[in-house]
């Protein structure tokens, strides 16, 4: 039925199969919309956030998806900005995944911004961050950069949309898409610049909290060490997440969409960045534990109380930090599909844990000696919005995969017999 929209030379499942797949994600989006409407109509009392937990699931989710969506800017930076000059042998492997990375990035940032729209107490006043901008606040920096970066991602997404078979037939769209693509290096560079600052500022947001010794870090000039650590962890997790999404797509569609060399490259990039990050994170933790912590009159174990106990620290840095780093940097392990995916998954989990620790654990810990240690668990409305964002992401990615030439190597890896149609029922 939608044969005309499907790219040339590839096969897609019938609409009879695709429709229920989409309905499932639409159901999640519906849950998300109901939750959002409740929160906007009744107020944030629909959540389990309170005066102690000013930030909750949504902020953890936002920080996580922004870190995971870093694959878009980093792959773009490697491909379009430094690719030809410094790593020409890797460009083909990167180009195989760049479109998917851009779509994933777009999904991540658009859902983050939508979620923030519900999270703030007065969403209609959201534009005040821009209009009454406080240039000293890390959150201002984050807001500006993620908004502008979303527009950059939209500009990078447009040529992919315009390469749809039917849309390409319209000369205005075809030519415009091509022209945008010719200057993609400019947008990739702008995207890299913006991403550097907002990934960093998300870390800076916590590092500047000198009233919270758990999160506070010293640093370089106005930038706490968390600024740089968050950038590193984002570019370590981003390529892994891109790889995971493509791997899942391959499993669901039953096709090979990129050559294994692309996965190997993404894993290698992730692995070495993760290794660097973990080493620096350990150094930072030690210097914080011997610097900031005793100066505040506290000791390391003061910060770890169940359910946010020491296990969280070991999980974040040890289990989901050191182990995936070893897996991803060792060529012998990278060659095994199972280990590769496990390594990527553990890498991504570790970075999500890091965002959780900085958000939830920081707020759980009392600073005044007579204050309480608190715990937090989200309500179904909070989960609803997170799950809705997930549904939106899978829905948009599915649509992009079905109707757009997301994977340039797909045709080569899945040759169709000459007499075959471009779309067949399986």
């Amino acid at each position: 039925m939608d044969l005309a929209l499907i790219p040339n030379g590839v096969r897609r499942c019938s609409l009879k199969t695709f429709a229920p797949w989409m309905l499932l994600w639409l159901a999640l989006i519906a849950w998300g919309l109901v939750s959002a409407l409740l929160c906007l109509y009744k107020g944030l009392n629909q959540t389990n956030m309170n005066h102690y937990f000013a930030f909750g699931l949504w902020i953890v989710f936002d920080l996580s998806v922004i870190a995971l969506g870093a694959g878009a800017f980093f792959t773009g930076f490697l491909t379009h900005v430094i690719g030809k000059a410094f790593i020409p042998s890797c460009v083909e492997d990167l180009k195989a995944v760049i479109n998917a990375a851009v779509v994933i990035g777009f999904i991540c940032y658009s859902s983050a911004i939508a979620m923030l729209g519900v999270d703030i107490g007065q969403p209609i006043r959201g534009w005040f961050i821009f209009w009454h901008a406080n240039v000293h606040s890390m959150l201002t920096e984050v807001s500006f950069c993620i908004t502008v970066y979303l527009s950059v991602l939209t500009i990078e997404y447009l040529p992919i949309i315009f390469s749809n078979r039917k849309l390409k037939e319209i000369p205005e769209i075809d030519i415009f898409g091509n022209n945008l693509h010719h200057i993609v290096a400019l947008f990739a560079a702008a995207g890299a610049f913006l991403s550097f600052f907002h990934q960093g500022s998300l870390g800076g947001m916590y590092g500047v909290l000198f009233g919270r010794p758990f999160a506070f870090r010293e640093g370089l000039f106005i930038w706490p060490w968390t600024f740089f650590l968050f950038i590193l962890s984002a570019i370590a997790a981003g390529p892994s997440f891109t790889m995971l999404c493509i791997w899942i797509t391959q499993k669901v569609t039953g096709k090979e969409l990129v050559k294994r060399s692309s996965f190997a490259l993404l894993a290698k990039i992730s692995g070495w960045l993760l290794t660097t990050y973990i080493i620096l994170k350990i150094i930072d933790t030690i210097s914080w534990a011997y610097g900031v912590v005793p100066r505040a009159g506290l000791s390391f174990m003061d910060f770890y109380r169940e359910p946010y106990g020491l296990w969280l620290f070991i999980a974040e840095i040890g289990i989901f930090g050191i182990i995936p780093a070893i897996i991803l940097i060792t060529p012998r392990f990278r060659e095994k599909d199972g280990l590769l995916i496990i390594g990527a998954l553990m890498n991504v989990t570790g970075i999500v844990l890091n965002r959780f620790v900085f958000t939830i654990q920081t707020l759980a810990i009392p600073v005044m000696p007579f204050d309480k240690f608190m715990t937090y668990f989200p309500t179904w409305q909070e989960w609803g919005i997170a799950v809705g964002a997930l549904g939106y992401g899978i829905l948009l990615f599915s649509l992009s995969y079905r109707y757009l030439p997301l994977f340039p190597q797909e045709v080569e890896l899945n040759p169709i017999a000459v007499s075959g149609n471009t779309a067949k029922d399986f």
Binding site: G43, L44, N45, M49, N50, H51, Y52, A54, F55, D119, I120, G121, Q122, R125, G126, F128, I129, W131, H132, A133, N134, H136, S137, M138, L139, T140, S143, M205, V208, L209, F210, G211, R212, P213, P294, R295, A296, G297, L298, S299, D302, T362, L363, V367, M368, P369, F370, D371, M374
Partner: protein, 261 residues
């Protein structure tokens, strides 16, 4: 009176005598009624109700007959180095250069709650609900203080509207300076044992500026460097120990002070 503050402004601060405080809570009630603080449908939920001046109960942890308890009223510390001001993305909070009071613009606040994450004293409250007042209480609301809408952060302002009222009165009398007790917040006025003293910390003529020089005086979480302008006074060292975190053996008595346990 000659002011030490060369900028010409005033450094308003408080000293709360914890040895006098009985934990009666009149200060909290006076604050809430003065400032049109919304009443939650379930005020027992202390994680969500709005309380600008929270009274904490602390104990020395010893068994009978050595048990002691004390009450620590905690308004906004009105820090001179506030952790909440630089983090607000919409410049909805600022430290006033003239009075050194940390203000909050309710109509500008977007409710991101970053300032709440920054404040170690939990001085800031968020309006998780629409404001509501019990039947008939709306007739007691003060016209000098704007009520807050849902989704914004609020906190103690040292009853800044009273400062404005006092200033207007002084202006009308041809004066620019305020006398010592012309402007006092509601909590100070309400306290039945006069445990709270308020005034210009830099003005040698004001009682507070003398009180803060006493060795009995301390501030909460001094090590963090927030420079709070709310001081506490007690002769009991176990309470002073509660004011800040300290490592084993780190807590010291002020020089020459004999601990009154």
């Amino acid at each position: 009176m000659k002011k030490e503050n060369s900028a010409g402004g005033t450094k308003y601060g408080m000293v709360i005598d914890l040895d006098k405080c009985t934990g009666c809570g009149v200060c909290t009630v006076a604050c809430a009624s003065e400032n049109n603080v919304s009443v939650l449908y379930d005020e027992s939920d202390k994680t969500r109700n709005i309380n600008w001046l929270q009274v904490y109960m602390v104990t020395n942890g010893k068994k009978f007959p050595e048990t002691q308890i004390a009450y620590i009223p905690r308004p906004c510390m009105q820090c001179d180095n506030p952790p909440c001001v630089p983090v607000c993305p919409a410049t909805a909070t600022d430290r006033d250069p003239n009075t050194r009071i940390v203000s909050q613009i309710y109509t500008r606040c977007i409710g991101c709650r970053y300032c709440m994450a920054a404040c170690p004293y939990h001085a800031r409250s968020f309006n998780w609900f629409d404001p509501s007042f019990p039947e008939g209480m709306d007739r007691y609301l003060s016209p000098e203080v704007s009520p807050r809408m849902r989704g914004v952060v609020e906190k103690c302002t040292f009853c800044h509207h009273r400062f404005m009222r006092a200033k207007a009165k002084a202006f009308s009398e041809g004066r620019r300076e305020l006398e010592e007790n012309e402007y006092i917040p509601a909590c100070v006025e309400g306290c039945p044992v006069k445990a709270i003293t308020f005034g210009d910390l830099d003005n040698p003529g004001h009682k507070v500026s003398k009180l803060i020089k006493s060795p009995d005086v301390f501030r909460l979480l001094k090590k963090l460097g927030t420079e709070p302008k709310v001081y506490y006074s007690t002769g009991k060292s176990w309470i002073r120990r509660m004011a800040d975190n300290s490592l084993e053996g780190e807590f010291k008595q002020p020089n020459g002070q004999k601990p009154r346990e």
